[in-house]
């Protein structure tokens, strides 16, 4: 089972790790990915990143992605937390944890989850630059290719 949350508040990776593994001796490995806000885009200083989402759809889309991962690998649990709202440079945006008996499944599922999340969950990022400019981030072909390789 995956714990899935969309929230404005920061998350505590250690607390999420502890919650996932509490009372479990069957887990042999946990994959972890944390996405954070880069402080510049091609050298242009970023002031903040605003994340918008489609509340009625987001958790359903994340649950569908988690179910796909559980169908492909033998997982013993996992966590997906995605933040929304205004985030400053270096702030954590997204957490993916995937637990399995062995590392291959844990690491592969973690990579799969973040690749699919980037192309199949209804989030949009707007960059606000230190020079006052604002830009909606455009989807990257490289992200589509990363999602398609699974």
């Amino acid at each position: 089972m995956f714990a899935i949350r969309v929230q404005e508040a920061p998350f505590d990776v250690g607390a999420e790790f502890a919650a996932l593994t509490a009372g479990r001796a069957d887990i042999g490995g946990i994959g972890c990915f944390v996405g954070t806000v880069r402080g510049d885009v091609g050298g242009r200083a970023l002031a903040a990143m605003t994340l918008e989402h489609y509340p009625a759809m987001t958790e359903r889309a994340l649950a569908a992605i988690a179910a796909e991962a559980e169908g492909r690998w033998e997982l013993l649990g996992g966590t997906i937390i995605h933040r929304v709202g205004c985030l400053l440079p270096a702030a954590p945006i997204v957490l993916v944890l995937a637990a399995a008996r062995h590392r291959e499944a844990a690491l592969a599922a973690t990579g799969f989850l973040i690749d699919w999340l980037k192309t199949k969950a209804p989030f949009w990022k707007k960059e606000s630059f230190a020079d006052g400019g604002e830009v909606w981030v455009e989807a990257r072909a490289a992200d589509e290719a990363a999602a398609a390789r699974w």
């Binding site: 009625a56 980037k118 199949k120 209804p122 989030f123 949009w124 990022k125 909606w136 989807a139």
Partner: protein, 88 residues
């Protein structure tokens, strides 16, 4: 022939160009697909024209599931329009 009502949602730059995040509108009965709906919306005013001018870079969902231009729409549907997603 009477039309039907749908609940529309717009996200990211579509919301900014159209000037609202959601609205309930009456759609003509002959509008049966998502593609026909976006073409009809594009003719509603300059903000809509600007939002839908990008053509294929607009994505959509019907009742919270991703859907393509051929997908059927009907009375009471929640239809969302948005740019390609950029989360993660």
């Amino acid at each position: 022939m009477s039309g039907f009502r749908v609940h529309l949602l717009y996200f990211a730059w579509l919301r900014e160009r159209i000037g609202c995040g959601e609205e309930e509108i009456e759609v003509p009965a002959e509008i049966r697909t998502l593609g026909a709906l976006s073409a009809w919306l594009a003719a509603r005013g300059p903000g809509y024209a600007s939002a839908f001018a990008a053509g294929k870079s607009v994505r959509a969902a019907i009742n919270q599931s991703f859907a393509g231009p051929e997908a059927a729409i009907g009375p009471g549907d929640e239809v969302a329009f948005f740019p390609p997603v950029t989360g993660g």
